[in-house]
């Protein structure tokens, strides 16, 4: 069984963000980077499948500048077998262009199952995995919280509000992974040392046409401090007045 996991390197969301001088991105200086959370769950799921089968191969793939190699190494140290960097130095915000490059790499690889995160935790576009499936002409089950692969069939569960769906489709297929499926393991010392010897190929990224550009990025305005209008029911008329006249929400 051949599995591929698409991984994005993203800044730690707890960092303090600043807008870069260009005004179209964040200032990367001083930020810490790691694998996007959902991609980590996807890598874990793929590794667990090969561990359970005692066979198979997990390829992890990431598009970006050379620093993504660190993220790929992390996936290798978790237990993935090989890695591919699709080298592209400039930031890309167009998910379709990224999916096109991923599809070009994955198309003839003979993969049975391709896993992506439900979304990248930084840009949260939720698009790449779906685009990728479409470009490859494969079925896709998005945002799954449980996965079972057996006899050439994927069975998956998606969480809905107040319900869940059970979905089946034949392999090969693409799935995008939601939280709750598996926690990404912490690479062990043995895994970290073994990863140094695993293959990591660097190839040029064949991005699709860029269909949109990020025009401008801004931080939200700082919120003004709150105000206590009064206590108990006597304060209600004043609150209503303020909501009508100042906040204009009523």
């Amino acid at each position: 069984m051949k599995l591929a996991v698409c991984i994005k390197r993203v800044p730690d969301m707890e960092g303090r963000f600043k807008i870069a001088a260009s005004g179209t991105g964040i200032d990367e200086a001083g930020l810490k980077y790691d694998m996007s959370d959902f991609d980590g769950y996807a890598a874990e799921v793929a590794i667990q499948i090969t561990e359970k089968l005692g066979a198979g191969e997990v390829t992890v793939i990431s598009l970006g500048p050379d620093v993504v190699q660190e993220t790929l190494r992390k996936a290798l140290s978790m237990g993935a077998h090989r890695a591919v960097q699709l080298k592209h130095d400039a930031p890309v915000s167009d998910g379709l262009a990224v999916a096109t490059a991923l599809a070009a790499e994955l198309k003839d690889g003979g993969y049975d199952l391709i896993l992506c995160g439900r979304m990248a935790v930084d840009t949260q576009n939720r698009s790449t995995g779906i685009f990728l499936a479409e470009l490859l002409g494969l079925p896709v089950i998005s945002a799954i919280s449980q996965l079972n692969v057996e006899g050439g069939v994927v069975k998956a569960r998606r969480e809905l509000e107040g319900a869940y769906e059970l979905i089946e489709c034949p392999l090969p297929a693409v799935v995008t992974i939601d939280e709750g499926i598996a926690r990404a393991r912490y690479p062990s010392l043995k895994g970290i040392m073994a990863a140094k010897k695993k293959p990591l190929e660097v190839k040029p990224a064949h991005l699709g046409a860029i269909t949109y550009q990020l025009e401008k990025m801004e931080l939200p305005a700082e919120r003004a401090a709150g105000r206590i209008v009064g206590e108990g029911k006597d304060a209600v008329p004043e609150l209503v007045r303020l909501l009508k006249e100042e906040a204009k929400v009523l």
Partner: protein, 628 residues
């Protein structure tokens, strides 16, 4: 092609609303505030040049990237599996249920993840199943676990300590039997030294071992305070017990080291009969509650089989061999907790608004964040100077443990041993005290909330208080420092330390920090002179000399911490000039400010103490027990 079925979820229990918990209370518990990664990277790579270790054959498979990956795993485990039950270790302390010790359910997943990550055997030799990670890095990794939850981290520490003893002194058969399951996290370990009537004075211990015809021994007696002495965290527990073989000479020369497993092993290594070591009860502590403290009875109800480690009567020597690491580990735990408290306090001081600056007379102006008040920054700077000073001291010891093992020349290896001898009592006592000051300051910065159990500081205050007591009380450390370490072999260790400090002074000579080097040079001279005076007194009147051992230790800590700060200051001063942005520059400026704090507020305090020591102050010695 695909099939779909939709199943409604059952209604959630408890209706629409979750129980009300004030956001301010839950939030602070959830943020683990571990040792900051930039601080760790600054010390490991810029100050201690961890990268250079990779050139040594033992570490040649490593690289900075691999070190970072190890630390990243440790940080993840600490945040996700340790910090999450740190408070529960305190509120739901271990208890005895049906004769067994039950720990908080969070402990097991944390322990297992630590073992699975390979951290238990991290620095051990490859042929013993280890990964030969430098001590410098494994100490940093463990400090992260301590910073999240020192009580849970203790179980790993105990296993590693016991395993290292077997690795160093056990027979091949003992190593083959016990080490693999211990390093894999299947068997736990303990260090069983203390008895009800033998705490500081191990020479008086009474547990006895009766030789059996088959070469084993039967253990009898009682041990107290044994951390991790009983639990179901692991399948088996391997106690390393100090005891006397029947008929052994009195005092330290008659003490031997034994392996006493909770379960005996069958020939194939599977668990066999329950051995005669039984839980007598738990002790209920002020803090550090998650690590169970047990009273153990040996051979009381059934024979207790024990296996001699190494040669008879050498037990205490063996134990002392491992003491350095255990004492550094105490400093490491204190350091972890100190950093956590400091980080909580800084975050709090940035958001808590209270009062106005003294120059502002406008009552309608908005209150400022309390970090705007100089007095709050005084408390934070003092905390920072202590917690980073403590970190530098334990990492220095980690680096020396590596040098002792792997420095290219025999002279350098010997020098590292000599330095470790004299620095170990400081690495045990300074973090315990300095980080207690830091935690106390964090409490003060948080005002009433620092004192409240809904916030994390008061627990850290109770937890860290232990570090002045166990692994040899601070009083015993002071006796060790002055009575042994600085005087032994004609003061060789002390001289080695002086020489090492002077290399930093030389490095600072032509830099903007030269004035600080000058101040330290003067302090060094005073410290050396009073050490000389006390050394003479040690020979003529040890009772008088040692009466002020604690003051001497305090002076030594202040001087040594000034040294580690000067070294950090030199690095920070260079790095701030090439900082890539304001935030990075602020980081290095902060380190420099903490250095200046130490030289302005802490180092000068040695003056009166030096005077007291030099005149061989006798007030405490002469205080008659009857007067109390």
């Amino acid at each position: 092609m695909s099939t779909l079925s939709r199943i409604p979820l059952p209604p959630a229990a408890g209706g629409l609303f979750a129980p009300y918990v004030p956001a301010s209370l839950t939030h602070r518990d959830l943020v683990p505030n571990l040792i900051d990664s930039r601080t760790l990277a600054f010390q490991l790579y810029d100050v201690f040049d961890a990268g250079a270790l990779c050139q040594r054959p033992r570490f040649s498979d490593y690289s900075r990237e691999a070190f970072d990956a190890v630390l990243s795993s440790a940080r993840g485990i600490a945040a996700d599996l340790y910090a999450t039950h740190q408070k529960l270790n305190d509120t739901d302390e271990p208890s005895v249920v049906n004769g067994n010790v039950v720990l908080n359910p969070g402990v097991k997943p944390a322990y297992d993840a630590t073992a699975e990550a390979g951290l238990l055997a991290a620095s051990q030799d490859a042929e013993l199943g280890g990964m030969q990670l430098p001590h410098l890095i494994s100490i940093a990794a463990y400090a992260l676990l301590d910073s999240a939850n020192a009580a849970t981290a203790s179980y790993s520490l105990l296993t590693v300590g016991a395993a290292n003893l077997i690795a160093a002194f056990g027979s091949q058969e003992q190593k083959d039997t016990w080490l693999p399951p211990m390093f894999a996290g299947k068997f736990g370990g303990t260090m069983a030294l203390t008895e009800p009537d033998a705490g500081s004075s191990l020479a008086d211990l009474r547990c006895s071992a009766a030789p059996q015809p088959d070469g084993t021994y039967h253990m009898g007696g009682t041990k107290i305070w044994i951390s991790g002495g009983d639990h179901e965290l692991t399948q088996n527990i391997v106690h390393l017990v100090l005891a006397r073989i029947e008929g052994a000479p009195p005092g330290t020369k008659g003490i031997s080291l034994f392996i006493v497993p909770k379960f005996l092993l069958n020939a194939d290594g599977t668990l066999g009969a329950r051995n005669g070591v039984v839980l007598g009860g738990l002790i209920h502590k002020m803090g550090w509650r998650g690590t169970c403290s047990t009273l153990l009875n040996f051979g009381e109800t059934a024979p207790c089989v024990a296996y001699l480690v190494g040669e008879p009567h050498k037990g205490l020597t063996y134990m002392f061999h491992m003491m350095n690491e255990a004492r550094i580990a105490v400093g490491r735990a204190a350091t972890g907790m100190g950093h956590t408290a400091y980080n909580h306090a800084v975050a709090y001081a940035r958001t808590r608004r209270q009062g106005r600056l003294p120059s502002n007379k406008d009552p309608l102006s908005p209150p400022v964040s309390i970090i705007e008040h100089a007095d709050v920054r005084r408390m934070l700077l003092e905390a920072l100077a202590n917690v980073d000073g403590a970190l530098a001291l334990i990492l220095e010891c980690g680096r020396l443990l590596d040098d002792e093992q792997t420095a290219p020349s025999a002279a350098d290896r010997q020098q590292a041993s000599a330095l470790l001898e004299v620095l170990t009592p400081l690495a045990k006592t300074f973090p315990a005290l300095g980080c207690q000051t830091a935690i106390s300051n964090a409490m003060q910065v948080m005002g009433g909330y620092g004192y409240a159990r809904e916030y994390p500081i008061e627990q850290l205050y109770r937890d860290n208080r232990l570090n002045q007591i166990h692994e040899g009380t601070n009083g015993i450390q002071a006796l060790d420092l002055l009575g042994r370490k600085v005087v032994q072999q004609g003061g060789a260790s002390f001289k080695a330390l002086m020489a090492r400090i002077r290399t930093t002074l030389a490095a600072a000579a032509e830099t903007p920090l030269a004035p600080y080097a000058g101040q330290l040079e003067t302090a060094l001279g005073q410290w050396a002179e009073c050490t000389r005076v006390l050394g003479i007194a040690m020979a003529t009147d040890p009772n008088l000399a040692l009466a002020n051992a604690n003051v001497y230790m305090d002076v030594s800590n202040r001087v040594v911490i000034a040294w580690v700060w000067l070294r950090m200051g030199l690095t920070a001063d260079g790095r701030r000039r090439t900082a890539v942005n304001e935030e990075e520059r602020d980081f290095f400026e902060g380190k420099l400010a903490a250095m200046r704090y130490w030289f302005a507020f802490e180092l000068p305090r040695i003056g009166p103490d030096i005077a007291l020591l030099s005149r061989l102050e006798a007030t405490t010695l002469e205080a008659n027990p009857a007067w109390f």
